[in-house]
């Protein structure tokens, strides 16, 4: 796009800036939309679960304009800062929270190659940045200068810090399987039919997926792990003192992070943008079929990916309105006594599995994206070739 | 020279590293809070890390010259890991210090004064 602008004789620094801004806008839009849709979903699903109708009037039949309306209302609200608060931190916190979530979108691929920044350490980066989000929460909780908030923040800290470990391990499992941390490659390696998805790669990954789900829910502190904002115990946890626009930021941050973790799950385990049936490749809508076709194929893939992500969000919402809240000690127990050991065992299992029958559960010869453990180097060589789909041949060599 | 157009080199990174390092030193020297001192240490380590990475990086070198290559990142990685370990121990020490002195003011811990 930058090139496009330059071609119409715009000074290139301007061009680059504009291009960057536009892309940021796109991402922001996606983030916000996901948040909005998430809120709407929440309301509707909860209503259905509680045998209500939920929002119906605003914006037609399904109240699909309810989220913007809420946003409007909240923006109009008065912004209150407690006297005992640490003003600066109190102000910063929501932005920190949202920015962290937003940064995650930078490395989140929506389709083959459709990613803001394709990082080799993408998965790792994702985890790292998602971790930053908690920072905002803690700051907010602390800066509010209220006991409830502090409690909430502390709980959040304990919970998230401990859930980082199994979450990271889950990702490591997939990384071991694919031999790369590049999310695009991970997605591509699952191309083809649904049994190429890593969740079906072998029994271990299947278990790991469910552990991932647990940890994801916990790390985006949703019920039943929503200790930080346990309205029945601490008034509203770290949100107690927040109102209006700042609160909105927290809120959107939460929903965006839901989207992110669901998307990550989809990427890692559910084949990313590859549908259960490889329609795109069956129809020949692949990059080597020509740019346009590739573009269309990617569009399909993107829809596919977003659908999966929202499915995951729906699952989380369903969970929230179904399960009671855990006690903090139960939360920690779940993490340290169950998730961590299980996922460690699964890690070992996956290693052995992919060492002894590298083909995956269905031992048929996959397309050229087969990951071939145990020689990490070679598999990396393979995947790096696949990553660029032949363009810009990379000189990798394997040790032998 | 116009920094916006000239490519940055090793020196720039080194300067940033130096700033971090010095800030860390000053932080250690001035903070009375144990945790403040710890943060100072973190800063110092980061300054050093930055230097390692810069030296290891291939973009900052004029081509042809051969830097320390992967070793830089490797050492930086180790530094990070050790920093984490150090943080753990230091915090534990801080905790027991707090238990012993009911404060985290390092100026209170003068049992070893000559």
């Amino acid at each position: 796009m930058a090139e496009l602008l330059i071609s119409i004789s715009i000074p290139d620094w301007l061009a680059h800036t504009i291009a960057a801004l536009v892309q940021c806008g796109l991402l922001l839009a996606i983030a916000l939309c996901s948040a909005a849709v998430g809120i709407w979903l929440e309301r509707k699903v909860s209503a259905r679960i509680q045998d209500r109708l939920g929002p119906t009037r605003v914006g037609g039949k399904f109240g699909w304009l309810q989220p913007p309306a809420d946003g409007l209302k909240l923006i109009c609200k008065e912004d209150i800062i407690p006297a005992a608060a640490d003003h600066i931190l109190f102000r910063i916190a929501p932005y920190v929270c949202f920015c962290a979530t937003f940064c995650v979108f930078l490395a989140l691929p929506f389709a083959n190659g459709w990613v803001a920044v394709e990082l080799n350490a993408g998965a790792f980066f994702l985890l790292a940045v998602a971790g930053l989000e908690i920072f905002g929460v803690i700051l907010g909780g602390y800066a509010s200068g209220s006991k409830w908030s502090l409690y909430g923040a502390m709980r959040e800290a304990a919970q998230v810090v401990s859930y980082e470990i199994p979450l990271g391990l889950c990702v490591v499992v997939v990384v071991i399987l694919t031999g790369t941390m590049n999310l695009v490659e991970i997605g591509n390696q699952q191309a083809g039919w649904f049994f190429n998805w890593h969740i079906f790669h072998d029994p271990f990954t299947f278990v790991v997926f469910w552990v991932y789900v647990t940890c994801a829910v916990a790390s985006s502190n949703r019920a039943p792990f929503d200790l930080p904002e346990a309205e029945s115990e601490l008034v509203a946890g770290f949100l107690t003192e927040y109102s209006g626009f700042r609160w909105v930021f927290f809120f959107m941050g939460e929903y965006a992070s839901m989207f992110v973790v669901s998307g990550l799950g989809a990427l890692l385990f559910l084949g990313g943008w590859n549908g259960p049936i490889p329609i795109a490749s069956l129809l020949g809508l692949t990059p080597d079929g020509g740019d346009v076709f590739g573009w269309i194929g990617n569009l399909l893939g993107m829809c596919n990916f977003i659908a999966k992500a929202f499915a995951g969000m729906t699952f989380m919402i369903w969970l929230r309105w179904t399960l009671p809240r855990l006690r903090i000690d139960q939360v920690i127990t779940t993490c340290l006594k169950y998730c961590v050991p299980i996922v460690s065992a699964m890690l070992a299992g996956v290693m052995l599995w992919s060492f002894f029958l590298p083909g995956g559960l269905i031992l048929h010869v996959r397309s050229r994206y087969v990951a071939q453990p145990p020689s990490a180097v070679q598999s990396r060589a393979e995947s790096s070739i696949t990553a660029e789909g032949g363009c810009a041949t990379r000189n990798t060599m394997d040790i032998r | 020279m116009n920094i916006f157009t000239e490519p940055v080199g090793l020196s720039h990174f080194l300067v940033v590293g130096a700033v971090l390092f010095v800030c860390g030193i000053i932080c250690m020297a001035t903070k009375r809070n144990v945790l403040g001192v710890l943060m100072g240490i973190e800063l110092v380590l980061n300054g050093a890390n930055l230097n390692f990475v810069a030296f290891g990086s291939s973009v900052l070198r004029p081509p042809g010259t051969d830097g320390i290559g992967m070793d830089g990142q490797m050492i930086a990685l180790f530094v990070i890991v050790l920093a984490a370990a150090e943080a753990a121990v230091a915090l534990a020490i801080a905790l027991s210090y707090y238990h012993a002195h009911a404060t985290v003011d390092v100026d209170r811990g003068v049992e070893l004064r000559g």
Binding site: D86, N120, R380 | N2, L10, V19, A84, V104
Partner: protein, 236 residues
């Protein structure tokens, strides 16, 4: 030619953030704010790592240090919980001393950093070698082979790091023309092992140091009563 060098720009941005917040860490009195500033500074350093094409390292930096400083922060909150914002003032003289020393040190370091001319940056004609750090890390086609080699170095740094930890120096492999010498390349397997063991030991030690002690009758007591779970019970 004066095309904007985005790499340099982002470098300036991150450098400014890093240095500024580092100074802020020194200046700010409140421990929690210090922590925030530290986090920002470190995040900026991570950004610098990205610029230096050490992505994995950057991510690691974010993860470890953010986690670490978060814990720091929590400790700060817990331990200085005498009233929300306790700050311990330092005497002016000390400040002066520290700053004098700091400045002297900085001067020396500056001199050292800028002393070597080769460090002042690649030659202008190699600019293409420096990939623009904004959203297109993939190399444009039509670059020199050396550049691609550089790319190859940087692109899968994570993999090379991993291999290096396992004792294989792939970057050296690439540079190594004589296959005879491939055997003798030093990896970091041993260091890796040592460090992992060291980590375990450290964590155990930390857990031991920080184990819950019952506070003595008088909180000022220099030596707290020993751990009640210790084998020989103290007189109550």
């Amino acid at each position: 030619m004066d095309a904007i060098n985005w790499h340099s720009c982002f470098f300036l941005l991150f450098a400014a953030i890093a240095c500024g917040f580092a100074v802020a860490v020194v200046v700010v009195g409140d421990i929690v704010r210090m922590a925030c500033c530290l986090v920002v500074s470190l995040a900026a350093v991570a950004g610098l790592f990205f610029l230096a094409e050490a992505e994995f390292l950057g991510a690691a930096q974010l993860m470890v240090y953010v986690g670490g400083t978060m814990v720091l922060l929590i400790f700060g909150v817990m331990l200085t919980a005498r009233g929300p914002f306790v700050s311990m003032k330092t005497g002016g003289g000390q400040w002066v001393l520290a700053i004098v020393i700091g400045v002297a040190l900085f001067a020396v370091l500056l001199q050292a950093a800028t002393s070597t001319s080769a460090w002042n940056g690649p030659k202008a004609n190699d600019q293409a070698a420096v990939p623009a750090a904004n959203n297109s890390p993939l190399p444009q086609a039509g670059e020199g082979p050396g550049v691609r080699a550089v790319e190859g170095d940087s692109q899968d740094a994570a993999g090379q790091l991993g291999l290096g930890l396992l004792g294989v120096r792939e970057d050296r492999l690439r540079r190594q023309d004589k296959p005879v010498l491939l055997g003798g390349m030093s990896g970091y397997l041993l260091v890796f092992e040592i460090i992992s063991v060291h980590l375990v030991v450290v964590l155990v030690g930390a857990a031991y140091l920080a184990r819950a002690r019952r506070r003595g009758r008088n909180p000022e007591s220099r030596s707290p009563l020993p751990d009640p779970r210790s084998p020989k019970p103290e007189s109550p």
